[in-house]
Every structure is written in C-alpha cells, then in structure tokens.
C-alpha cells in the first residue's frame, strides 16, 4: 500500500521534474539567445564605435618636432643652429597631482619656487595631452638626478629635443633675435596643434619675424601604449597599423648680414652704449646691425631663469633694448644734408650765397639766442661748406627760411618720422614734428602752438625730432642712391630643406622725385667734403685720413640736455647720461655706394670724435680686402679704385653745380 503510493508519487514527481527540466532547458536557451543578442549589439552594431575606443586606448600620438631652420650670414657662416639637449617635459593628463608633482621637482632642485607659478600657468594653458617643457636644456647632472627620482613622477619625462645654439653668442642678437619657451601669450596666436611638440618659438628679430619659415611642419608618430600610458614595443599585428608622419624641417635663412662687418661694428663700439646699422643702399640688405650693450640669446634658448632675466631687464644700460630699431634720438646735424636737398629743390637758398656766421643766431622778432657750438665755423660760409663743416648758424637760417611745412613735406618721403619697413619687427617710427602733430599731441592750448624757434631747431635736428639709427642709415642710403628707396631687409634668401634657395627680391619703395640730379651731386659732394681736407677741413676728416675710398658722411651731435641761455655746455660737469649723443652717417665708395651706415654712440659727445672713427672701421671692414685695398667688387666703375680723389673730382666736374663751384 505504502509502496504503491510511493510508486504513484514517484511517477507524478518524475513527470513534474521532467516538465521543470524542460522549462530549465527553455530558460537556458532563452538566456543564451539574450547573450548572443547582446554580443550582436556590441560586436556588430556598435563595432565601429568600440573599435575607435580601443584604438584610442592603445595608440597615443606623439609629435616629432621639426628641426628649426638654420641661419647663415651672407657668406654662409652659421649664425643660428640646432643643438640636441635634454629637457624635462610633463603631460598633464598623466600626472596624478600637478601641484604635488611640481613641488616634488622643486624638492629635487629641477625647478625653483619662483618659477613655479609661471610653469604651472603654462602647463594649464596647454592641452592636457600635450607634452609641455617645464625645464629646457638640462645638464647631464640634472638628467641623472631626475633619472633617480623618475618613478616618483609619472607623466614627467626627459626628452631629447633640439635646442637652439647661437655660436657667436651676443653677436647681432638684436637682428637675429632669439628663441625661448612658448609662453601663454604666444599660445594666443599660434596653432596649438601645429606647435604640439615644439618647445621653442622665435621671440625677437629674424627668429620672430620668420617664425613661419623657420618652424617647419611637425610630424607625428603613433605609439603603442599600455594602460599606464607607457610606450610598449609589441611585435605582430598591433604595431603594423601604426602611422608615422615624418616632420618637414624649417627653411634655412640666408641673412644679409656680413659677419666680418658685424664683428667690426661690435668691436668698434666696444663697451659703449650705442648702435650701428649698415645697409647696402642698392637693395636694402642689412650688412650689420648692432645695438650695445647686447645679451646672449643662448640664455633664452636654455630657459632663462627669473633672476637672470631680471638682471637683464633692470640693467640701467638696457641690453634688451634694440637701440638700432627702437632707440629714438634727436638726429643732430645729420639732418643737414636732407635740409640742404630740401632747400635746393625748393630753390629756397642760393648754394653760392654766403652767410656770415659768428656762433649765434638771432631769429628776427625773437630775443632767443640760438647758440652754436664753440667749434662752429666762423666767417662767411656758403652751403657746401656749411654741410662739410656743419655750420649751425647757416642751418638755423636755412631752416627758418624753408619753414616747417616745406621741411616736413620734403623730409617725410625721405623717411623721417615713418617706419622703414624693415623685415624684422619692433622698429619705431621716430618723430617728425609739425604744427599739425603738435596740435594733436598736446592737450593744453598754449602747448599746441608751433613756435618759429622750433622750426629753427629743426636746422640742427633738435627739438621734438626723433630718429632711430636704422632710419638714419636708410635715409643715408636713399641719398647715396640719389632718391632710390630700398626697404631694409635682414633676410635675403630662404633655403628649403631640399637645398633650393629662393632669393628674395629687394623691395623698392616710392623713390624721391623732383630732386635735380645736380642737387644730389651737390649735397653728396658736400658730404664727401666732411671726410677730407681741401680749402677747408670737414668735420670728420681726421677719421677718414688715408681712407682707400671716398666716403660721403655727416657728423651729428644730439643734445640730451638743454644748456641755459647764458651757460656754456661743458661735458665735464654734465652727468654722463645727459651728455650729448654722437652720430655719424656715411656711405662709401661715394661714387658707387655699396654701404650706407649710421653710427650712434650714446652720451659720447661730438659725432666727429666719437662716432666717425667707428664708422670708418666698419666701412673699412666691409670694403677693404685683407691687403688693405678696396675689394675689386666694390671698385667704382671705370675709375682707378685707389685714386678716389681723381674720381670724385671727375664726377664733380661733370656737373654744373658740383662741389667744386660750391666750395669756392
């Protein structure tokens, strides 16, 4: 009975179990299908998306910086080149705690506390996956020190990167410029993607002006990384699809600079403050561009420290100031040839008319005494002699006769008060004062009046008039070329990585029209007279004693300090910074000018004493061969190169109102 019940139960329960087992199989099958559906979703429908994610996971794009273009002088000497250097770089998104990491780097002496805020700001302004340099140019010792602590600094690594080397250090630094770490301000105007991997950017001079050419195009390399972001080498299919794009090096630049002339100019200036600009007037080539004191651009390429930079910025001699382009000074008497041209062109003076000079000029209707220097020539003086001997009294009168409007109308196209358009940045236009300018510049009505005495001051290049050494060199070049105006340029050729050099066409601006050829000759002859002794001795004759070429020049002395009405200027009692600036402008050979130069020596006194000898050295360096004779390529056409006097005379004879007649 019990047995029967159990058997019956057993059957029923087995049927029940089998039904449940069948249900279990159905559920298993259903769940397996759900799973397959999920796989279909992930692996077929969303496959592309996950493929990209997987690719993004494992592949990191690492930029390969392009080699920056080199710079050569006109003879092929390297002025700026690349140099491999260790640098410390940081990738923000791989750093667990930026502040702690930077503090850690301070602790091991690779950063200093006062650099921190700037480094931090710089890192934060870059993209989180960019490798940002935090320290440029590490010494081997620094690199070793970091290597020991490397494991403490995930996301920070030493990279070998190309740095910049200026083999001649401070030489021509204001022309060449320098490169330095990319700053926050730079980031505002560059394409961050294009500069990814680039550590240095041009900051000044040619480095900045030709940044686009020099920079090149960065390449990239896809590298395989593991979950920690470390680069891994795996063979097989994983590496096969990795792409590499080689960088394209930047273009090399051939500068117009002549290393020998540049060196001569720097040596000539010595440790004095001043500037020298030498141009080839036929095409605007800047042969030398010196601003003293200078500084070593390698400092910036290394990553200049705060203290070092402060020392440069706070130096009272202002080494960072480019005096050649941005230093503005009264032109002093160097303006006289231009005024003479203006007067001759406007027939405002008779070149043969002599004026009696006694060292003091009285403006009719004014009690003001316009003093001239104690060395100012005395007696009856005509225009030619007034230029050669730099008569202040004559030019006071000439300026007063011409009037400010005619002066401004002539000097503006010549280049006073306007930018030369040189191919590097930062130049200042100087100032050519006019009544209209004065009305604009001053707010008080009594200051807005143009006084006749201010026109008189223009005769000596004093007053509000300001010029830069570059401007004066450029203007001197225009006179040398009898009105042809070539825009100054530091770069004359661009060489692509394949070695093809593209020579830049000189840019010729609107020439000076309306000046008679005879008037050009007259003024040029008078300028030649400055550098020699004939019936009278020019102001710069001593500096050009025995020159192998004819130089046309003009001295200038720019007052910094106004001497009182009854006082005499005595250099010995005036503080050094208030002493006069010495100017000299010249071009040579006078018959076929190949170089035009402006020399400024700050607070050095008379142009004839302080500036002209420097100009002579620079001209000699450029024009003379090792034998001390004029280089063949600079010899004036169809004349004996050494017999400059004969050549000058012949030129003068050929013209009706030449220097010969004027000097009578």
């Amino acid at each position: 009975m019990v047995q029967g019940v159990r058997i019956k139960d057993h059957w029923k329960e087995q049927r029940l179990f089998e039904r449940r087992a069948l249900l279990a199989v159905a559920v298993v099958a259903l769940l397996a299908l759900v799973l397959c559906g999920r796989l279909y979703l992930l692996q077929v429908i969303r496959h592309d998306r996950y493929s990209q994610l997987s690719q993004g996971n494992r592949v990191r794009v690492e930029p390969i910086p392009a080699a920056r273009g080199l710079m050569y002088d006109r003879n092929g000497t390297v002025l700026a080149s690349g140099q491999p250097a260790y640098q410390l770089e940081l990738v923000r998104e791989e750093v667990p705690n930026l502040d702690a990491t930077l503090q850690g780097l301070v602790a091991i002496g690779l950063l200093t506390d006062d650099e921190l805020p700037e480094v931090r700001r710089n890192i934060l302004s870059r993209r989180s996956f960019d490798s940002v340099p935090v320290r440029l140019r590490m010494s081997d010792e620094d690199a070793a020190r970091f290597a020991v602590h490397r494991f403490e600094f995930p996301g920070v690594d030493i990279k070998t990167r190309e740095s910049r080397l200026y083999p001649y250090g401070p030489l021509a630094v204001h022309a060449i410029g320098y490169v330095s770490a990319i700053s926050e301000q730079d980031l505002a105007h560059i394409d961050r993607a294009a500069y990814s991997g680039t550590a240095l950017i041009g900051k000044l001079g040619v480095e900045a002006a030709y940044e686009k050419e020099l920079h090149g195009t960065n390449g990239y390399r896809e590298i395989l990384v593991n979950a920690e972001g470390r680069s891994v080498d795996k063979l097989g299919a994983l590496t096969l699809q990795l792409k590499t794009q080689a960088p394209v090096a930047g273009d090399d630049l051939v500068l117009a600079l002549d290393l020998k002339t540049q060196e001569a100019a720097e040596q000539a200036l010595g440790d004095r403050r001043g500037a020298v600009v030498a141009l080839d007037p036929r095409n605007g080539d800047v042969l030398a561009l010196v601003s003293h004191p200078a500084f070593d651009p390698n400092l910036f390429a290394h990553g200049i420290g705060r203290a070092e930079y402060a020392a440069l910025a706070d130096d009272p001699d202002k080494p960072l100031l480019d005096r050649a382009l941005r230093g503005t000074y009264p032109s002093g008497s160097t303006i006289k040839p231009a005024l003479a041209l203006a007067a001759l062109t406007d027939h405002a003076v008779d070149p043969n008319h002599k004026v009696f000079c006694d060292g003091v000029f009285h403006l009719p209707g004014s009690r003001h005494l316009f003093r001239s220097d104690k060395d100012d020539p005395r007696g009856w003086i005509a225009l030619s002699e007034a230029i050669s001997r730099s008569s202040d009294v004559y030019f006071y009168g000439l300026a007063a006769t011409l009037g400010i409007d005619r002066i401004a109308a002539f000097l503006t196209p010549l280049g006073y008060g306007r930018l030369t358009g040189i191919d590097i940045g930062g130049e200042k236009p100087g100032l050519l004062p006019t009544p209209a300018w004065k009305r604009e510049a001053f707010s008080r009505p009594e200051d807005q009046v143009w006084f006749p005495g201010e026109t008189v001051n223009m005769g000596l290049g004093q007053g509000y008039l300001l010029v830069t050494p570059l401007q004066l060199a450029h203007i001197t070049g225009i006179i040398a070329e009898r009105g042809r105006d070539f825009r100054p340029r530091v770069v004359k050729g661009v060489r692509d990585p394949d070695g093809h050099t593209r020579w830049l066409t000189p840019i010729e601006d609107q020439p000076i029209l309306g000046v008679a050829d005879a008037d050009w000759s007259f003024v040029i002859e008078a300028m030649i007279g400055t550098t020699r002794c004939a019936q009278y001795c020019g102001t710069a004759w001593e500096a050009f004693k025995g020159a192998a070429y004819a130089a046309a020049g003009k001295t200038g002395t720019a007052q910094v300090y106004t001497v009182g009405q009854n006082a005499t200027y005595n250099a010995n009692i005036v503080p050094e910074r208030l002493r006069d600036h010495a100017w000299f402008v010249a071009f040579a050979p006078a018959e076929a000018p190949r170089i035009a130069i402006a020399v400024l020596v700050e607070n050095a006194g008379f142009g004839a004493d302080a500036a002209a000898p420097l100009a002579r050295k620079v001209l000699d360096a450029y024009l003379l061969g090792p034998d001390g004779r004029l280089k063949a390529q600079f010899a004036p056409p169809a004349s004996d190169a050494t017999d400059t006097r004969a050549a000058a005379t012949r030129t003068a004879d050929a013209r009706p109102t030449g220097a010969g007649q004027a000097a009578r």
Binding site: F17, V28, L35, L39, R49, R58, A227
Partner: protein, 379 residues
C-alpha cells in the same frame, strides 16, 4: 516498440568500443566529458593569450584541471546513497566552517574567505556550493512534491543562512551562486508558479521599501552597481574596458594574442573574471558564440542525465548542479558584456583559478555518479 528497443540495445552492445567500456567502468559520461574537455582546452588556449603568454600560468591551470578531474573521477565512483547520507553532515560542517571564517575575519578586522590549512587554503564557500543543493535535495527526498509552505520556509532558511554568511565575507558572486543552487533545487522540485510570482512581488516590494530607507550615498552606491558606466574611473572602469574589448573584436576578432585591450593591460582581470572579454576581442562573436554553444551542450547533457536518474534526491541534486552551471556561465558572461552588474563570478572551466575549477568538476563528478549508479538503486 520492444523489438526496436532490443535491436537498438543489441546494436549498442555490439558497437561498444574500448573507450566506452572504460568510461562505463569509470562511471563517467562520455558526451559530458567531451563537452567539458573541449571547454577546458579552449580555456587553456585563451588563457595563454590572456595571461600575456605566460606558459607557467597555463601549466598551473592544467594542474587545477587535473585536480578537478581527480575530484570528478573520485566522486563519480561514490555511491549516491552515500552522498545522500552525508548531505546533512556536510551542510552542518560547511556552516560551522563559515562561522569560523567569519569569526576569524571579525577578529582580524578584514575580509576573510580562506581557511588556511597549512598545506592548502580552503574556501568553505566553495564547499557550500555543493552542500546547499545537497541539503535541499536531501530535505525534499521523501516529502511530497511540490513542497508545502512550511517546507519552503525551512528551505529558505537552509539557503539564506549560508548564502548570507558568504555575502557578508563579502563575496557577492559566490553567495549568489549558492542561493541559485539551493533555489534551483526548490524550483525543480515543482515550486508552484504562483508562489514564485508571490515571492517575486514580495522581493520587488521589499526592494522598493528598502530604496526609500537608504541614504543618498547608499542609493548612489546601488545605482553605480546597477549602472557601472556612470563611474568610469571606479566601478565602471572594468565594465567599460570589457565592453570595448568585446565590441572592438567584431564578428571575427582581432586574432589570437592580438587583442590590444587584453595585451596592453587595459582590460583588468583578463585572466580571471574577465577572460570572456578576451575571447570576444581576439576570437570575436564567433569565438564567444562557440563557447556558449559548448556550455549549452554541457548543460543540456547534464539536464538530460538528471532526468535519467531514478530518485528524488538524485534528480533534484543533478538538475540543480546542471542549471547552476549555466547560472555561472550566464552571470559571468552577462557581467562581462555589460548586461548584469559586476559580481565576482569566474567563467566556469576557463577563468584562471583552482577553487572553482575543483568545485565545478566535483559537482560534475557527483552528477555522473548519480546517473551512472542509477541501476543500483533498486537492488
């Protein structure tokens, strides 16, 4: 019918090969064994790639397999009557060990799952994966089925106490599996659907009430657990990387040892819990579906064997072991492919590890014993 059966039987007898005779003598089931062996070999191949081509790891896994196979072979020889008799004792011992482990963990102020026996470390929770269904089957063996409500209450207690202890270790994955193994016994025993529905409703109500009792941060924790992708750097990291691995594998996969997610360490625990993602990445959907088919074959065969057993204890235990095996598979693959929350459940026979391998194969050994000894029951 009879004639046909006779001819079938005679043909079967004629075609018995040496291998089949050996399997019969060893009380093993051929198809099940082949299915398990295929999965294990597949697993070794994947493990070689997932471990970063470390042969040592593969060899150790072979060791685990050997240990598991030995356990399976041994248990296959055991008489089901013996298994039935020791069930309550095994269960009691397991509870005691769990309490000891919990006590040690409480004193040691840390998570504790292991019992260090000197020679090897023993995980009582693994034992419970077998002991709980055995106990449930034992309890139901002579009671009329489907079980009455008081029986259900007792069964619930039998299941929840060990599962709860394991969850508190904390080992949510194993606890879930223990719960599933016990519950499956009850479900296979014919638990009425209306009772299941009522329990489900009760669970939903409890969940709803519990949700409102939780603090904000606790709710966040639950939400992150349910949707790990909301926390990409924490809990979500595993699951995001594993779905990337699977999705990027596509239909055909990136090729053996070419899965970048696995090879470059983006995929965490690629040799253990997340090895299914490695299969998806390197062998694609084809490789994954193939593995699922193998599992379904094994589960199907095991369920078939369970239906062939002759008493309630055997049926319930065998059925539970079979379906629990699939629970393992589904929880792991569902978690790796982002269908289910992440609980630490290894992929059976494929994930690297000894404990679960031995337990699983021991379970199959018991299943084969229950099947192959069935004729002995009547005698």
């Amino acid at each position: 019918m009879i004639h046909e059966e006779l001819t079938d039987a005679s043909r079967a007898r004629r075609t018995l090969t040496g291998t089949a005779r050996m399997l019969l003598a060893l009380k093993l089931d051929g198809p099940l064994l082949i299915g398990l062996a295929l999965i294990a070999v597949y697993g070794l191949v994947v493990l070689y790639s997932a471990s970063g081509q470390r042969l040592g790891m593969v060899l150790r896994q072979v060791g685990h397999l050997a240990m598991g196979a030995a356990a399976m072979l041994a248990l296959a020889q055991v008489n089901p009557n013996f298994l039935r008799r020791i069930s309550p004792w095994l269960y009691a011992a397991g509870i005691a060990l769990l309490l000891i482990v919990a006590g040690i963990g409480y004193i040691g102020k840390g998570a504790q799952r292991w019992l260090d026996l000197g020679v090897f470390r023993f995980q009582p929770s693994e034992l419970m994966k077998l002991a709980v269904p055995m106990m449930c089957a034992w309890y139901l063996r002579e009671r009329p089925l489907p079980p009455s409500l008081p029986s259900l209450a007792l069964l619930a207690l039998l299941i929840v106490v060990p599962a709860g202890l394991v969850v508190m270790q904390p080992d949510l994955g194993t606890g879930t599996l223990i719960m599933a193994a016990g519950a499956l016994v009850v479900i296979l025993a014919g638990l009425q659907f209306r009772v299941m529905g009522a329990l489900a409703a009760l669970a939903a109500l409890g969940g709803w009430a519990g949700w409102h009792l939780l603090h904000g941060y606790q709710r966040d924790r639950v939400l992150t657990f349910m949707n790990p992708e909301s926390d990409p750097l924490g809990a979500g990291y595993h699951i995001i990387q594993s779905t990337i691995a699977i999705g990027s594998g596509g239909v055909f996969g990136k090729g053996w040892m070419n899965g970048s997610q696995a090879q470059l360490d983006f995929l965490p625990e690629s040799s253990t819990d997340f090895i299914y993602a490695v299969i998806g990445e390197e062998f694609g959907m084809l490789g994954q579906v193939l593995l699922i088919l193998l599992y379904v074959f094994v589960v199907g065969r095991a369920i078939y064997l369970a239906t062939q057993t002759q008493d309630t204890f055997s049926r319930l235990l065998a059925g539970s072991l079979a379906v629990t095996f699939f629970a393992y598979v589904f929880i792991n693959t569902g978690m790796v492919s982002g269908l289910l929350p992440v609980v630490g459940v290894p992929l059976p026979l494929v994930s690297y590890g000894g404990s679960s391998m031995v337990t699983l194969l021991a379970g199959f050994g018991m299943l084969m014993s229950l099947y192959s000894h069935r004729r002995l029951i009547g005698s």
